[in-house]
Subunit: 119 residues, 2 copies
Protein backbone atom coordinates (compact mmCIF):
# COMPACT_ATOMS: atom_id res chain seq x y z
CA UNK A 1 0.00 0.00 0.00
CA UNK A 2 1.39 3.47 -0.85
CA UNK A 3 2.75 5.36 2.14
CA UNK A 4 1.14 8.68 2.99
CA UNK A 5 3.73 11.35 3.80
CA UNK A 6 3.06 13.90 6.50
CA UNK A 7 5.72 16.62 6.57
CA UNK A 8 6.30 18.66 9.73
CA UNK A 9 4.43 21.94 10.04
CA UNK A 10 6.76 24.96 9.81
CA UNK A 11 6.48 27.71 12.41
CA UNK A 12 4.99 31.13 11.64
CA UNK A 13 2.57 29.91 8.98
CA UNK A 14 -0.11 32.29 7.76
CA UNK A 15 -3.54 31.32 9.12
CA UNK A 16 -5.70 28.92 7.12
CA UNK A 17 -8.39 30.13 4.74
CA UNK A 18 -11.99 29.39 5.83
CA UNK A 19 -12.68 25.66 6.22
CA UNK A 20 -15.00 23.33 8.09
CA UNK A 21 -13.93 22.27 11.58
CA UNK A 22 -13.01 18.61 11.94
CA UNK A 23 -16.28 17.84 13.74
CA UNK A 24 -18.25 19.45 10.93
CA UNK A 25 -16.75 17.31 8.16
CA UNK A 26 -19.52 15.49 6.28
CA UNK A 27 -18.90 12.19 4.51
CA UNK A 28 -21.21 13.08 1.60
CA UNK A 29 -19.37 16.38 1.06
CA UNK A 30 -15.90 14.85 1.27
CA UNK A 31 -16.88 12.05 -1.13
CA UNK A 32 -18.34 14.62 -3.52
CA UNK A 33 -15.09 16.58 -3.52
CA UNK A 34 -13.16 13.38 -4.24
CA UNK A 35 -15.49 12.13 -6.98
CA UNK A 36 -13.48 13.83 -9.71
CA UNK A 37 -10.33 12.42 -11.35
CA UNK A 38 -8.48 15.76 -11.30
CA UNK A 39 -9.18 16.26 -7.61
CA UNK A 40 -8.19 12.67 -6.82
CA UNK A 41 -4.95 13.32 -8.70
CA UNK A 42 -4.30 16.49 -6.68
CA UNK A 43 -4.94 14.80 -3.34
CA UNK A 44 -3.01 11.67 -4.21
CA UNK A 45 0.02 13.69 -5.33
CA UNK A 46 -0.06 15.68 -2.09
CA UNK A 47 -0.30 12.45 -0.09
CA UNK A 48 2.48 10.60 -1.85
CA UNK A 49 4.83 13.15 -3.36
CA UNK A 50 4.82 16.26 -1.17
CA UNK A 51 8.23 17.92 -1.07
CA UNK A 52 7.21 20.67 1.31
CA UNK A 53 4.55 21.18 3.93
CA UNK A 54 2.16 22.69 1.39
CA UNK A 55 2.18 23.34 -2.34
CA UNK A 56 0.99 25.93 -4.86
CA UNK A 57 -1.19 24.79 -7.76
CA UNK A 58 1.78 25.29 -10.09
CA UNK A 59 3.67 22.45 -8.38
CA UNK A 60 1.17 19.88 -9.67
CA UNK A 61 2.01 20.45 -13.34
CA UNK A 62 -1.65 20.25 -14.33
CA UNK A 63 -2.53 21.32 -17.85
CA UNK A 64 -5.69 23.26 -17.01
CA UNK A 65 -6.65 26.93 -17.00
CA UNK A 66 -5.75 28.67 -13.75
CA UNK A 67 -9.42 29.53 -13.11
CA UNK A 68 -10.33 25.84 -13.29
CA UNK A 69 -7.54 24.88 -10.91
CA UNK A 70 -8.54 27.63 -8.49
CA UNK A 71 -12.06 26.21 -8.49
CA UNK A 72 -10.89 22.66 -7.79
CA UNK A 73 -8.51 23.69 -4.99
CA UNK A 74 -11.28 25.75 -3.40
CA UNK A 75 -13.73 22.83 -3.64
CA UNK A 76 -11.25 20.57 -1.85
CA UNK A 77 -10.72 23.14 0.89
CA UNK A 78 -14.40 23.89 1.38
CA UNK A 79 -15.17 20.18 1.69
CA UNK A 80 -12.45 19.89 4.33
CA UNK A 81 -10.09 17.67 2.33
CA UNK A 82 -7.28 20.21 2.14
CA UNK A 83 -6.14 23.21 4.14
CA UNK A 84 -5.13 26.31 2.18
CA UNK A 85 -2.99 29.19 3.33
CA UNK A 86 -2.35 32.52 1.64
CA UNK A 87 1.34 33.33 1.21
CA UNK A 88 1.38 36.82 -0.26
CA UNK A 89 -0.13 36.42 -3.73
CA UNK A 90 -0.22 32.64 -3.80
CA UNK A 91 -2.14 29.92 -2.01
CA UNK A 92 -0.67 26.63 -0.95
CA UNK A 93 -2.52 23.44 -0.03
CA UNK A 94 -1.90 20.37 2.04
CA UNK A 95 -4.18 17.45 2.94
CA UNK A 96 -5.84 17.41 6.36
CA UNK A 97 -4.50 13.91 6.99
CA UNK A 98 -5.01 13.87 10.74
CA UNK A 99 -8.57 15.25 10.56
CA UNK A 100 -9.64 12.91 7.76
CA UNK A 101 -8.10 9.86 9.40
CA UNK A 102 -9.90 10.73 12.63
CA UNK A 103 -13.30 11.10 10.99
CA UNK A 104 -13.10 8.75 7.98
CA UNK A 105 -10.46 6.10 8.69
CA UNK A 106 -9.17 4.40 5.57
CA UNK A 107 -10.52 6.96 3.10
CA UNK A 108 -7.13 8.51 2.33
CA UNK A 109 -5.64 5.05 1.80
CA UNK A 110 -8.20 4.54 -0.99
CA UNK A 111 -7.15 7.84 -2.54
CA UNK A 112 -3.47 6.95 -2.23
CA UNK A 113 -4.13 3.61 -3.94
CA UNK A 114 -6.19 5.18 -6.74
CA UNK A 115 -4.85 4.99 -10.29
CA UNK A 116 -6.04 7.27 -13.10
CA UNK A 117 -8.16 5.58 -15.75
CA UNK A 118 -5.98 4.77 -18.73
CA UNK A 119 -8.92 4.64 -21.09
Amino acid sequence: MPVIKVLPEPVDLPGPLPEPAVDDLRLETVLGALSDPLRLRIVRKLLLESEHFDHTCGWFGLDRPKSSLTHHFKALREAGVTRQRQYGLERRSHVRVEDLNARFPGLLDLVAAWEPDEG
Copy 2:
Protein backbone atom coordinates in the same frame (compact mmCIF):
# COMPACT_ATOMS: atom_id res chain seq x y z
CA MET B 1 -18.52 -0.14 14.46
CA PRO B 2 -21.85 -1.14 12.84
CA VAL B 3 -21.91 -4.68 11.49
CA ILE B 4 -22.55 -5.12 7.78
CA LYS B 5 -25.05 -7.91 7.09
CA VAL B 6 -24.62 -10.16 4.09
CA LEU B 7 -27.62 -12.45 3.57
CA PRO B 8 -27.28 -15.68 1.59
CA GLU B 9 -28.09 -15.53 -2.11
CA PRO B 10 -31.26 -17.46 -2.97
CA VAL B 11 -31.22 -19.89 -5.86
CA ASP B 12 -32.94 -19.21 -9.19
CA LEU B 13 -32.53 -15.43 -9.05
CA PRO B 14 -33.29 -13.43 -12.17
CA GLY B 15 -30.08 -12.17 -13.83
CA PRO B 16 -28.69 -8.80 -12.78
CA LEU B 17 -29.42 -5.62 -14.74
CA PRO B 18 -26.42 -4.12 -16.59
CA GLU B 19 -23.58 -3.14 -14.24
CA PRO B 20 -19.82 -2.63 -14.31
CA ALA B 21 -17.66 -5.70 -13.70
CA VAL B 22 -15.73 -5.70 -10.45
CA ASP B 23 -12.46 -4.92 -12.25
CA ASP B 24 -14.08 -1.94 -13.97
CA LEU B 25 -15.24 -0.25 -10.77
CA ARG B 26 -13.80 3.29 -10.56
CA LEU B 27 -13.21 5.01 -7.24
CA GLU B 28 -14.27 8.42 -8.58
CA THR B 29 -17.54 6.97 -9.88
CA VAL B 30 -18.33 5.07 -6.70
CA LEU B 31 -17.56 8.13 -4.55
CA GLY B 32 -19.76 10.25 -6.81
CA ALA B 33 -22.65 7.84 -6.37
CA LEU B 34 -22.18 7.94 -2.59
CA SER B 35 -21.83 11.74 -2.36
CA ASP B 36 -25.54 12.23 -1.80
CA PRO B 37 -27.35 11.90 1.55
CA LEU B 38 -30.29 9.98 0.10
CA ARG B 39 -28.01 7.47 -1.60
CA LEU B 40 -25.91 7.10 1.54
CA ARG B 41 -29.13 6.43 3.44
CA ILE B 42 -30.18 3.77 0.93
CA VAL B 43 -26.83 1.98 1.02
CA ARG B 44 -26.48 2.20 4.78
CA LYS B 45 -29.96 0.76 5.31
CA LEU B 46 -29.19 -2.12 2.96
CA LEU B 47 -25.91 -2.77 4.78
CA LEU B 48 -27.32 -2.69 8.29
CA GLU B 49 -31.00 -3.54 8.11
CA SER B 50 -31.55 -5.91 5.20
CA GLU B 51 -34.29 -8.41 5.96
CA HIS B 52 -33.98 -10.26 2.66
CA PHE B 53 -31.32 -10.77 0.03
CA ASP B 54 -32.50 -7.73 -1.93
CA HIS B 55 -35.14 -5.05 -1.51
CA THR B 56 -37.57 -2.99 -3.57
CA CYS B 57 -37.47 0.80 -3.30
CA GLY B 58 -40.73 0.69 -1.33
CA TRP B 59 -39.00 -1.11 1.55
CA PHE B 60 -36.89 1.97 2.33
CA GLY B 61 -39.88 4.14 3.28
CA LEU B 62 -38.42 7.15 1.48
CA ASP B 63 -40.72 10.13 1.01
CA ARG B 64 -39.70 10.93 -2.57
CA PRO B 65 -41.39 10.67 -5.97
CA LYS B 66 -40.96 7.25 -7.54
CA SER B 67 -39.18 8.77 -10.54
CA SER B 68 -36.57 10.30 -8.22
CA LEU B 69 -36.05 7.02 -6.41
CA THR B 70 -35.73 5.16 -9.70
CA HIS B 71 -33.02 7.61 -10.71
CA HIS B 72 -31.08 7.17 -7.47
CA PHE B 73 -31.28 3.37 -7.52
CA LYS B 74 -30.12 3.34 -11.12
CA ALA B 75 -27.20 5.67 -10.30
CA LEU B 76 -26.09 3.32 -7.53
CA ARG B 77 -26.27 0.32 -9.83
CA GLU B 78 -24.48 1.99 -12.73
CA ALA B 79 -21.66 3.08 -10.44
CA GLY B 80 -21.34 -0.52 -9.23
CA VAL B 81 -22.45 0.10 -5.65
CA THR B 82 -25.58 -2.05 -5.86
CA ARG B 83 -26.80 -4.94 -7.97
CA GLN B 84 -30.37 -4.76 -9.24
CA ARG B 85 -32.55 -7.59 -10.45
CA GLN B 86 -35.90 -7.46 -12.19
CA TYR B 87 -38.61 -9.54 -10.49
CA GLY B 88 -41.62 -9.22 -12.78
CA LEU B 89 -42.65 -5.58 -12.54
CA GLU B 90 -40.36 -4.61 -9.69
CA ARG B 91 -36.64 -4.19 -9.19
CA ARG B 92 -34.79 -5.13 -6.06
CA SER B 93 -31.34 -4.00 -4.95
CA HIS B 94 -28.57 -5.24 -2.74
CA VAL B 95 -25.07 -3.89 -2.10
CA ARG B 96 -22.12 -5.48 -3.88
CA VAL B 97 -20.35 -5.97 -0.57
CA GLU B 98 -17.80 -8.51 -1.74
CA ASP B 99 -16.87 -6.55 -4.88
CA LEU B 100 -16.58 -3.23 -3.06
CA ASN B 101 -14.57 -4.71 -0.20
CA ALA B 102 -12.22 -6.28 -2.74
CA ARG B 103 -11.62 -3.06 -4.65
CA PHE B 104 -12.10 -0.35 -2.00
CA PRO B 105 -11.48 -1.88 1.43
CA GLY B 106 -12.99 0.12 4.26
CA LEU B 107 -15.30 2.23 2.11
CA LEU B 108 -18.49 0.41 3.13
CA ASP B 109 -17.50 0.71 6.80
CA LEU B 110 -17.52 4.50 6.33
CA VAL B 111 -20.99 4.30 4.81
CA ALA B 112 -22.21 2.04 7.62
CA ALA B 113 -20.87 4.53 10.19
CA TRP B 114 -22.39 7.54 8.44
CA GLU B 115 -25.12 9.49 10.26
CA PRO B 116 -27.54 11.83 8.49
CA ASP B 117 -26.97 15.54 9.15
CA GLU B 118 -29.41 16.70 11.80
CA GLY B 119 -29.19 20.33 10.73
